[in-house]
């Protein structure tokens, strides 16, 4: 991947990666840091490896980074976030208060464990299909031979959704 292609993939996917990281870390600055680190690692990877699917690679790297950050992030600023509402994109306008549904969604998400939350976010926030999610999750650093098929993804997704629906009732 040359620099031109790299810049193109940044322009195409930076927002999506940011969004994914934001919904998992609840912290704008951390999410931005994760985006930066994701693209830098992708660049390094591209120096020695051919890349077939840039988007999948970016999500794979982002997942690892989020996992690292998550393990270090002991205080969840979730309550604070819900009180103050989301920061709008440029921080210049008044803060947008979350509507009730969105608040509920986030609170519910918080009841899932990180793996479940990750799949729900990839499916419903990132809009990735089960096939793509399976590809992204199938090569986890350190774990060799863990096979992820679209079926496995769908099963886990349904379990997570059921969990959420039980909580609503």
């Amino acid at each position: 991947m040359d620099e031109m292609e790299f810049i193109k993939s940044y322009d195409a996917y930076a927002d999506a990666i940011f969004r994914h990281c934001y919904f998992r870390l609840y912290d704008r600055e951390e999410a931005k840091d994760a985006v930066q680190e994701t693209f830098l690692r992708a660049w390094k990877y591209s120096k020695d490896n051919r890349i077939d699917n840039v988007r999948a690679l970016l999500y794979k790297i982002a997942r690892n980074i989020v996992a690292d950050k998550w393990r270090k992030k002991k205080t969840l600023s979730l309550d604070l976030l819900l009180e103050q509402g989301f920061e709008p994109s440029d921080g210049e306008h008044k803060k947008i208060m979350l509507n009730a549904e969105a608040k509920n969604f986030i609170k519910l998400l918080n009841n899932l464990d990180d793996n479940e939350r990750e799949i729900v976010i990839m499916r419903y926030v990132d809009g990735l299909g089960p096939d793509e999610i399976a590809k992204i999750m199938s090569e986890r650093a350190g774990r060799i031979g863990e096979a992820f098929s679209a079926n496995v993804v769908s099963v886990r997704l349904n379990r997570a959704i059921n969990k959420i629906q039980k909580l609503i009732q």
């Binding site: 931005k32 390094k44 690892n64 002991k74 921080g91």
Partner: protein
Amino acid sequence: MEDFKKIKEFTDGVRLSGQEKAQLRANILRTVRTQTEPRHILQWSSIFSNFNQQLKPMTFAVYAALFLSLSIGGAASFAAESALPGDVLYSVKTSVNEKLKEVLAFSTESKGEVEASISEERLEEAAELAAQNRFDGEARANLEANFERHAEKVQIRIEELQNKGKGKAAADLSARFENSIEAHSRTLEKLDGEQMGKFLPKIGASMKATAKLRAGIEAPATTSVQVDSETVIESREENKTPEDEKSENDQEKEEGVDNSLFMNIKSRLGL
């Protein structure tokens, strides 16, 4: 809340502002562009312009090492950068160029970075040798041993960073190292060969120690931090205490580096 698909309508509004996006892009490209390509010809202008910037310690060490190797060893050590085991210039690469990089790295972070990149280089050499059908038993044994040595040094630096209370830097270094070795190993896996089949498990075993270290770093901590205060731009030299200086110099002595030659160089550069 029945229709999960509606979630996207709200969440799509979360994005980087134009300014944020541009800022990150600039940061990323700056780092990308200041990395050297060991196997290509360097541009003189980029070497000298970078002396004036605040660099990450690693890139400064790389530039200084290459600049020095040009003034000391001339074309030989510059050409040695792309040498492979078995080449005439390979010993120049390992004993001169790499030693220089190690010595010129200042902070623990950058020392760790240098060791990580040398370890990676061993794997790149293995790949290149295999591609040229030169990856024999002797080459394999040498590369294994050398890789293990430098991987161990990475681990030492990770531990040092932890002991200094720089948990984030320690975790960053170990994650960066693991990810890149993982990536390199996957490339190597695709190459056939009896020797490769013996080589890769050894590399994996070496990396287990690093992974253990990383798990140790991420064990439940008692302090809770939202944004880690250690996220300082790493291009600034860390403020070393006299104890730090002493222990790093002792370490250099243990590693058998000829300090006198390199001290002269350091002072001539005004370091």
